[in-house]
Amino acid sequence: MMRALDYEVPDKLYYSKEHEWVRLEEKEAIVGITDYAQKQLHEIVYVEVQKEGSEVKQFQTMGTVESVKSVSDIFSPVTGKITKVNMELTDSPELLNQDPYGKGWLAKINLTDFKEDMKNLLTATQYADYIKSIET
């Protein structure tokens, strides 16, 4: 596991500059928000992701996350169709804080053209450098 300052940045994932991650699983991708994102938001009390079946475009809004203090958009890191939403987050939004890369996953997305998406995403090393650049 790579680290950038106090933040975990797992290898083998792709990242967006909006602090979402993508994990590839055959034709699907699992997406979520990064450790950096959850630590900035802190104390997440509500998560809402677009319904299963919705089409999402890369870097367009796919949901909303609320901390006690703030409301933020979640931008889809990829283009495709949402096939599954993590319903556990409805009752336990704190999973995003506790396990952002595991139990706090947001949605599974059936990819349209990941090769195209990938051009605009960062590798773990690149994302770790990006975090360091915005934090210092």
Binding site: E43, V68, K69, V71
Partner: protein, 379 residues
């Protein structure tokens, strides 16, 4: 180039222990452990906040009472020395210039503590209106540090380092005391709904922060046995919201009157003329058209936030001015202005959250059960 932001005596502590945000031109802690644990510490034990960013001005001189009665809406003649009152000052239209706590230190010496965001505006307003009176207006913000210790264990905590008997200081009373050996002043007031004290450390300019830092450290140490937490602006906001207290700039401003805001108890129309009196008297006779109410969200989902619309049937009846997740009730709560015909406790309304309607009930303040939480709780 980053703009200049002010800091308080405790900046090193905040920087080491908290997430820092900009607030009213200051670098202030928003949370240390987190808004929810800090909020719960205040509701169940004790918490301490650094509120040195607030404005503090002394008014002295033979006409202090007359001047303050002219400027503020509450009745200053009701204040005996070493007592405090919540009050507002208004513009000629009755719009609120600020809300604050006014303490009478001596017969002819008052301390007014107002919002950080209004420091320059309020000081100018005080100075400008003081010219017709024999008074001295002196901004002492930078020479006095200010903390607030709140929660059911607040008195026990402060008593360990204070030489004054805090049992003798009732709610909205104040007194001088040594605090860990330093010159201090305490006032049994606050902004959370809980019992507790606002603590002033005298003679501690920013260039000489030791006194303030020593008192802060002494309070933290005294509160250790009760599980004290340092608390940031995040918990300060959720606590005041649960208690139903207004935040200037959100729930009240120069376009809202104290009558609309439900602050009629600090408007004393029997007083001789004061700034805004004619407008407020007229509004009282004609009746207000809208009122600040509490909204309790009845369904699980997103939390209400400022500027969201409030609807009843197919009509917009108002808008949210403050909203958050309530750690005590574990649901969304809000303050909103709604048209007077709908401002009835028990009525249900819809808050429009990102195009989704959220069902809410109009409730009275505070949002929590006052027999279980707050200064009047049953022990």
């Amino acid at each position: 180039m980053s703009k200049f932001l002010r800091t308080t005596h405790l900046f090193q502590f905040h920087k080491q222990n908290a997430k820092i945000v900009e607030f009213a031109g200051f670098q202030m802690p928003i949370w240390y452990k987190g808004i929810i644990p800090e909020h719960m510490a205040v509701r169940t034990r004790v918490g301490i906040f650094d509120i040195t960013h607030m404005g503090r001005t002394l008014i002295t001189g033979a006409q202090s009472e007359a001047f303050l009665n002219h400027l503020t809406t509450n009745d200053v003649s009701l204040l005996t020395p070493l007592s405090a009152q919540y009050s507002t000052m208004c513009n000629e239209n009755g719009g609120i210039k600020d809300d604050f706590v006014l303490s009478r230190l001596e017969q002819d010496k008052f301390l007014i503590v107002y919002n950080a965001a209004n420091r320059e505006k309020d000081y100018q307003w005080l100075v400008q209106n003081s010219k017709a009176f024999n008074v001295k207006v002196e901004d002492v913000s930078d020479n006095i540090a200010m903390f607030v210790v709140q929660g059911p264990n607040a008195q026990q905590t402060i008593q360990k380092i204070a030489n004054a008997d805090l049992n003798k200081i009732e709610r909205f009373k104040c007194n001088w005391t040594k605090l860990a050996g330093f010159d201090g002043f305490v006032s049994r007031t606050g902004y959370t709904g809980e019992d507790g004290f606002e603590v002033f450390v005298w003679n501690t300019p920013l260039s000489k922060p030791e006194n303030a830092v020593n008192v802060w450290d002494a309070i933290l140490k005294a509160g250790e046995e009760f599980g004290i937490e340092p608390c940031g602006l995040g918990a300060r906001d959720t606590l005041r919201l649960e208690a139903g207290m207004c935040l200037y700039g959100n729930d009240i401003d120069e376009t809202t009157t104290p009558l609309e805001a439900g602050l009629g108890f600090v408007v004393k129309l029997k007083k001789d003329s004061f700034i805004g009196k004619d407008s407020l008297a007229k509004q009282k006779v004609e009746g207000i058209k809208r009122k600040r109410v509490g909204l309790l969200v009845l369904e699980k989902g997103p939390n209400p936030r400022p500027k969201q619309e409030v609807w009843k049937d197919n009509t917009q009846i108002g808008y949210v001015t403050s909203g958050t997740f309530s750690p005590i009730l574990e649901c969304g709560i809000a303050m909103a202005y709604v048209s007077i015909e709908h401002a009835t406790e028990g009525g249900t309304v819809m808050v429009k959250v990102r195009d989704k309607p959220l069902k809410a009930e109009i409730v009275k303040f505070p949002f929590y059960d006052p027999t279980k939480y707050g200064y009047a709780r049953q022990k």
